[in-house]
């Protein structure tokens, strides 16, 4: 009986020894939580809008995910290239160079949340596809995607229309963390109406990447990730990564066999510094670059080669660490925990985005009770917005007595620009002076000359009244806008909201409402 209990305890201990999270996994989880510290975003269904987003997170982490507190470097790069006609994208180039210099593809192995997801998916017990000649060749495909979707497409549409090619057509992080995060909240039920062929395509791709990651190690990273392709170029010079001492190397090739990526030699552009090679190296020729505070070199180094080659990394016993390193590890660990706790506290309890105006019930001069708000049937809130092409402002009272179409857009929104170029001019052609079309640009400070941009890209004879929203985009928010553009509302002669749509709209949808209002 006692024997059985001891045996059970021993097997549990063995199971834990082989399944406990490695240091790499702990760092991955830590970084994923730190860069997604705005957990309250999942509850509110809104993204974080503070100044921390000036900075980019190192890994592939969609900035439209409700919990993300930084910008995605790949998304920022595409948008910057897309706007190269207005200014050169120094900032994002600098950020990528800095991350490359500091980490290289160590980021893929340790700091990327999408990499973590794939690592966990690969743990599902199924037969696996091993690396082979085909995967070696396919690993260069990500450079093709980098050239076409990240560089060529944004540059081709430069100054014409925002077109982040990779984000729009491929990125699974955007579909999973961005769309998934937002749509999982019932408060964003309106967004379901926006889903169409693009979503179907991206969802299919996401399923392919997820299922692929179960069978093929880092399926997306190895063959499709342009960010990994960029960081891979820095692997040889980065401060962190794998170090390989050629004088100690006996060229047994065990490291290459243990590696699950398509590396040709340790530390090349495919190496994500996962450290599998460290445990199997018989001569301790492979170590981690940089300070050894978190990851000591070759912790399985005292095990004889005959045992080590057949050993799981989790079985490798650690070599005793010097006292100084132990103290340093403790201090770093405590500091990291404090930073994480501080970030979680700040983003979830201290930082508050401006509250959107709430609907109000008022009594008019003639004694009627009216609800002023952003819902259909509500009285549209008053506005007073500066005009772009003349002095003065436009007020709610200026358009009373006429059907008014109000469209909210901003210069980096591809859907907004597309509908203003194709759908809205038809309104003016069909209804002429019977309606007013107010086109409201976001109040956010853009480095682009908006009036010039409007003249260059929108038809001048479409009857648009161009104006800029009030501080904090408060008019946009008062009619129910959240974080997603475009929004279109149609007001009747009395200023009552008769139509509101939080997505790209069409001439047919708007004319149906306008015809009905004109008939009444």
């Amino acid at each position: 009986m006692e024997n059985n209990v001891t045996k059970e305890k021993k097997s549990l201990r063995q199971w834990w020894a082989c399944h406990k999270p490695t240091k790499r996994r702990i760092i991955q989880l830590y970084t994923a939580l730190l860069t997604n510290a705005n957990l309250k975003g999942f509850g509110s269904g809104q993204i974080y809008k503070g100044n921390v987003k000036y900075g980019c997170v190192p890994g592939l982490n969609c900035y439209s995910c409700p919990s993300t507190v930084g910008s995605c470097p790949l998304g920022a790069l595409q948008n910057a290239l897309n706007a190269t006609n207005t200014k050169l994208p120094y900032y994002i180039f600098g950020i990528l160079l800095l991350y490359g210099f500091l980490f290289g593809r160590w980021i893929c192995g340790f700091l990327c949340p999408f990499g973590l997801i794939q690592d966990l998916l690969y743990k599902v017990k199924t037969p696996k596809v091993k690396k082979n000649r085909l995967t070696y060749t396919a690993s260069y495909f990500k450079y093709v995607l980098l050239a076409i979707f990240v560089v060529f497409i944004p540059l081709y549409y430069m100054g014409k229309m925002p077109m982040p090619g990779f984000c729009k057509f491929i990125c699974p992080s955007g579909t999973l963390l961005g769309a998934g995060g937002l749509l999982s909240n019932i408060k964003n039920a309106d967004m379901l109406a926006m889903l169409g062929p693009l979503f179907t395509w991206k969802f299919i791709l996401l399923v392919v990447f997820v299922v692929g990651a179960v069978f093929i190690y880092r399926f997306f990273c190895r063959f499709f990730c342009p960010l990994g392709a960029i960081y891979g170029l820095f692997n040889k010079i980065s401060l962190l990564g794998m170090d390989f001492n050629k004088s100690k190397c006996v060229d047994c090739g065990l490291c290459i066999d243990a590696c699950l990526m398509d590396v040709k030699h340790i530390g090349d552009h495919e190496c994500i510094s996962c450290g599998r090679c460290v445990n199997v190296c018989p001569t301790s020729a492979i170590t981690y670059k940089g300070p050894k505070i978190l990851l000591a070199p070759n912790e399985g180094g005292t095990v004889p080669l005959s045992k080590r080659v057949n050993m799981d990394p989790c079985d490798a016993p650690g070599t005793p660490l010097p006292k100084k390193t132990k103290i340093a590890r403790f201090v770093v660990g405590i500091t990291m925990l404090a930073v994480l706790a501080g970030a979680l506290y700040y983003f979830n309890f201290v930082h508050k985005d401006p509250e959107p105006p709430k609907s109000q019930t008022i009594i008019t001069d003639d004694g009627q009770t009216v609800v002023v708000g952003g819902e259909i049937g509500n009285q549209c809130p008053d506005y007073d917005m500066p005009l772009y092409f003349s002095d003065g402002t436009i007020k709610a009272s200026d358009t009373r007595g006429k059907i008014t179409v109000v469209n909210f857009w901003y210069v980096y929104c591809g859907s907004c620009i597309h509908e203003l170029q194709t759908e809205f001019p038809k309104l003016h052609d069909a209804y002429g002076d019977d309606i007013e079309i107010i086109v409201v640009h976001s109040n956010y400070e853009f480095e682009i000359d908006i009036p010039q941009w409007i003249n260059d890209n929108f038809p001048t004879d479409a009857g648009f009244i161009h104006c800029r929203d009030v501080e904090g985009d408060m008019f946009f928010k008062s009619v129910g806008g959240t974080d997603a553009w475009p929004v279109t509302v149609i007001l009747d002669e009395n200023g009552t909201i008769q139509y509101r749509v939080n997505e790209k709209t069409t001439f047919d949808a708007m004319s149906e409402v306008i015809d009905k209002l004109l008939a009444d």
């Binding site: 399944h19 998304g75 994002i92 199924t126 984000c167 399923v207 060229d251």
Partner: protein, 140 residues
């Protein structure tokens, strides 16, 4: 005994693989079905998604249970196949040259970031990131 455990592990793995692939194909099929059933209207309504999710719920549960069960199977240890000669022709950067390259890259990175802050490209990064990019997440 050892051989038996290996066979069980392999069969179990194959079953999980079939379930995962079946779930993937089903999810893709559901997405296509939802979209193609009403491509001009609002194909993805909450009711439609819920109905389809309910239909595939048993498959999701079975797959999840099978995946979790797999973690309790003993792990296999494969015999390594050495890739001899992989490092024979590897040329490493001399330390001095590496230091120079690192220095140059760091200086360029810092200068670019500083210039970017002044020319407004940092502001553009923020501007894009604080608004939901509906295209980026496949919404429109």
């Amino acid at each position: 005994m050892k051989k038996n455990a290996k066979t069980i592990s392999l069969i179990y793995g194959c079953v999980v693989a079939v379930l995962v692939v079946a779930l993937g194909i089903t999810l893709i099929g559901v997405a296509l079905h939802i979209y193609l059933s009403d491509p001009k209207g609002d194909p993805y309504s909450r009711a439609t998604i819920a109905a389809h999710l309910w239909d595939i719920f048993p498959l999701i549960c079975v797959t999840a249970v099978a995946i979790l069960g797999g973690f309790f199977l003993p792990s296999e240890r494969k015999k390594p196949k050495a890739h001899r000669g992989a490092h024979a022709n590897v040329r490493q950067l001399p330390a001095k040259r590496l230091l120079v390259i690192r220095g140059v890259v760091l200086i360029i990175a810092v200068v670019f970031i500083a210039v970017g802050i002044f020319n407004g490209s940092a502001r553009d990064v923020l501007t894009k990131a604080v608004k939901i990019c509906t295209e980026c997440i496949g919404l429109g």
